[in-house]
């Protein structure tokens, strides 16, 4: 028998001894998460302003800073504003295709030093190490967001080709750009998307999905709330009114 068989056999032997269990069921999963997701989107076509308002409220409650622009082209100005105020300039960004547009020229023109992540992996170890140093030294990280959850003020980011994990993790200031397509109301709705994503996996999807609810925090010393332990000290969410992907 393999170690796996031995382990599971032991579990089965113990399970067989249980008596008087109460009937219990797991949570009801959507049979067709794609269809449910569609329904959610349809409902939000009308309800989105309220959801956005709730998102803003909750996001600010957890220490996030909310911005709103008319179109993607308005994002560089917001980013530059944040950078200038803090007197920082080194920025790393997701690949243009993942952001929904190439914002780097506009950012550069506003005095930032933007750097785009490669659209895929770097086979060369040295090149990868150099890139990591660059990200670690960056002060701003610019990403998209796959979901924005109103109930909790959370941003959900899936890792993958052109959308590395570190962009939203190593720089002290994280800026995420999203539009109506990402906006949902609740954690329960997020569950539908997680079900959907686990069923269809196009190439380029990465291994990690991160729920980010405000800046990194701790209360480990005398329960004093302190921001920015390991992750970003600041998180900004920029809502774009015009659909980012047309």
């Amino acid at each position: 028998m393999t170690p796996r068989d031995l382990f599971l056999t032991r579990i089965r032997a113990e399970m067989a001894k249980t008596r008087g269990l109460f009937p219990a069921r797991t949570a009801a999963r959507p049979a067709d998460p794609g269809a449910v997701a569609e329904t959610i989107r349809r409902q939000l076509a009308e309800r989105w302003p309220a959801a956005l308002e709730r998102f803003r409220e909750e996001f600010e409650r957890v220490g996030g800073v909310f911005h709103r622009v008319g179109a993607l082209a308005g994002v560089p100005q917001v980013v530059a504003g944040i950078a200038h105020e803090r007197e920082i300039r080194r920025l790393v960004a997701w690949d243009a295709r993942e952001l929904g547009g190439d914002l780097l020229p506009a950012l550069g023109a506003r005095g930032l030093e933007p750097f785009a992540m490669p659209p895929g992996d770097l086979p060369d170890v040295a090149a990868r190490a150099a890139l990591r140093e660059r990200v670690a030294a960056a002060e701003l990280g610019l990403t998209g967001a796959d979901l924005a959850i109103a109930e909790t003020g959370s941003l959900v980011l899936r890792s993958g080709a052109g959308r590395p994990r570190s962009t939203s993790l190593l720089p002290a200031c994280h800026i995420a750009v999203f539009d109506r397509a990402a906006l949902i109301e609740s954690l329960a709705q997020a569950g539908v998307f997680l079900e959907l994503w686990s069923r269809e996996e196009p190439a380029g999807v990465g291994a990690v999905t991160s729920f980010i609810t405000g800046p990194s925090r701790t209360a480990d010393i005398e329960l004093t709330l302190t921001r920015g332990v390991h992750g970003p000290k600041e998180v900004h969410a920029v809502f774009v009114d015009a659909p980012i992907r047309g």
Partner: protein, 471 residues
């Protein structure tokens, strides 16, 4: 060192904690704050009560088919290119991790907070094998620098002041800094950032593992969970077998109540869902992913008296509301898991003898059941452990004799009736002004409290008269 000395009897350990004025203050402030935050969070979340019931049901349903869900989890993880290991004991679990470290030539391991790796005492083993383990949760980092153990499941350094932390940093990191949480946190950020970028091995626990997708779920506030699973080239997750949940839909039920119970947040800052090693096209993430499934006494409780405690989410809510924990803190318990749930988990890991005294460290007030997100009936299981103590003669013979005598007297109305005049006779020298201020047999009890004497006429002795009264 500050590690609890288990040769000291529990009562003395507890009393030591009662005399630690700083600890007392810290405990009161922390537990009160956690209680308020939790109450507020559920106060504005009316669906919370139903979700707690549902969460409990999911845990139970999962345990009823644990073999199936683990089988599925293993398949899912392996399909993603991860490796699954099986550890029956702490020792086996440590060996698995050490083998991985040796094979991959790891010199430094960064860890995100994990009770499972505390439970198996992994750090000592890594150090002995020449791998430097670095705890990266700020509280755990402080504890590690101080060579102590966590005193609370979610706030490990709850017992330390900022002044003590500043002294510790000065001594261990050679950095003279102000006793300001913000400054101290900034120092730790710098120190640990360097380690994250340098470490070869990332070690985590798992708050949940989703069978259907092979997803390991880590919940943190600081972001160390993300660092540890993204930067080192190898990721090892150590999890108790009971942490598996069937689906993403189930997971969301738990996420809706976990942080609210622990810290009163709607959601912790980072919920990180990890599916195996780095994928094709991904720039970052570990080349290797290992999942260590840990038994360590859990499987034996599937049909055992402590089965219910397999539903525990490790949120710490029961600690905060426990009147005993609130007085003595985590260290006095003397084991990895403190508080009321800790007594049960200790019994699970180390057997009923290990909690001979701890099983009685509860007034059975039931505050823990109310606070528990999945409503684990902790007092019922504590009574079960006491029963085991009595029936398997773990309890001292003097105690068993006393209770045997009590059962005899209370079982016979005649003995019970005769006992009263005898008690009145015996208590006579100690009754002053209708109260007993000191009684030799209960000297410690009467140290702080008066005891009422057996009444001159008990109710039964008055009933005849009372019967004749007309209303």
């Amino acid at each position: 060192m500050s590690d609890t000395d288990l040769s000291v009897p529990f009562r003395r350990r507890a009393n030591g904690a009662l005399k630690d004025r700083h600890l007392q203050e810290a405990l009161t402030i922390a537990t009160t704050k956690f209680i308020d935050l939790r109450r507020e969070a559920f106060g504005e979340f009316p669906e919370g009560e139903g979700l707690r019931d549902l969460a409990r049901e999911i845990k139970e349903a999962t345990l009823q088919h644990l073999d199936r869900y683990l089988d599925q989890l293993i398949d899912s993880v392996e399909r993603l290119g991860g490796h699954v290991h099986y550890a029956g004991t702490s020792d086996e679990a440590r060996r698995v991790v050490l083998d991985i470290a040796a094979r991959t030539g790891a010199r430094m391991a960064v860890k995100s907070k994990s009770m499972a790796t505390e439970e198996i005492h992994l750090n000592e083993a890594l150090e002995a094998a020449g791998v430097t383990p670095i705890e990266t949760d700020l509280g755990e980092y402080i504890i590690q620098l101080a060579h102590e153990r966590p005193s609370h499941i979610i706030a490990p350094a709850i017992h330390k002041t900022k002044g003590q932390v500043a002294e510790l940093f000065a001594k261990e990191l050679k950095r003279e800094v102000a006793a300001d949480p913000e400054v101290l946190t900034e120092i730790a950020r710098g120190e640990l950032r360097e380690k994250f970028l340098k470490a070869d091995l990332g070690i985590t626990g798992a708050n949940f593992a989703v069978a259907d997708t092979g997803t390991i779920v880590l919940v943190t506030n600081e972001g160390n969970g993300r660092m540890v699973t993204s930067l080192p080239r190898v990721h090892v997750a150590v999890m108790g077998v009971e942490k598996v949940v069937p689906s993403m839909t189930d997971l969301m039920v738990f996420l809706q109540i976990l942080a609210k119970s622990a810290t009163g947040q709607k959601l912790s800052v980072y919920t990180t869902l990890v599916r195996g090693p780095r994928r094709a096209g991904e720039l970052e993430g570990p080349d290797e992913f290992h999942l260590v499934l840990l038994d360590n006494g859990r499987i034996g409780q599937l049909a055992g008296p402590l089965r219910e405690s397999l539903s525990c989410l490790r949120c710490g809510a029961c600690l905060n509301v426990c009147p005993v924990y609130r007085q003595i803190g985590g260290h006095a318990y003397g084991h990895t898991y403190p508080g009321p749930i800790g007594i049960l988990l200790t019994a699970m890991l180390e057997g009923p003898r290990s909690v001979k005294d701890l099983a009685h460290a509860s007034s059975l007030c039931g505050a823990c059941v109310d606070a528990c997100p999945v409503r684990i009936d902790i007092p019922r299981m504590l009574v079960e452990l006491r029963r085991e103590g009595a029936e398997r003669r773990i309890a001292p013979w003097t105690e068993r004799l006393a209770y045997g005598l009590m059962a005899r007297v209370l079982g016979s109305p005649r003995l019970y009736r005769w006992g009263k005049p005898i008690a009145r006779l015996l208590q006579r020298p100690f009754v002053r002004g209708g109260t007993i201020r000191s009684l030799p047999l209960l000297a410690d009890w009467t140290q702080t409290r008066d005891l009422p004497p057996v009444a001159a006429r008990t109710f039964q002795e008055r009933w005849r008269d009372l019967e004749r009264e007309t209303s």
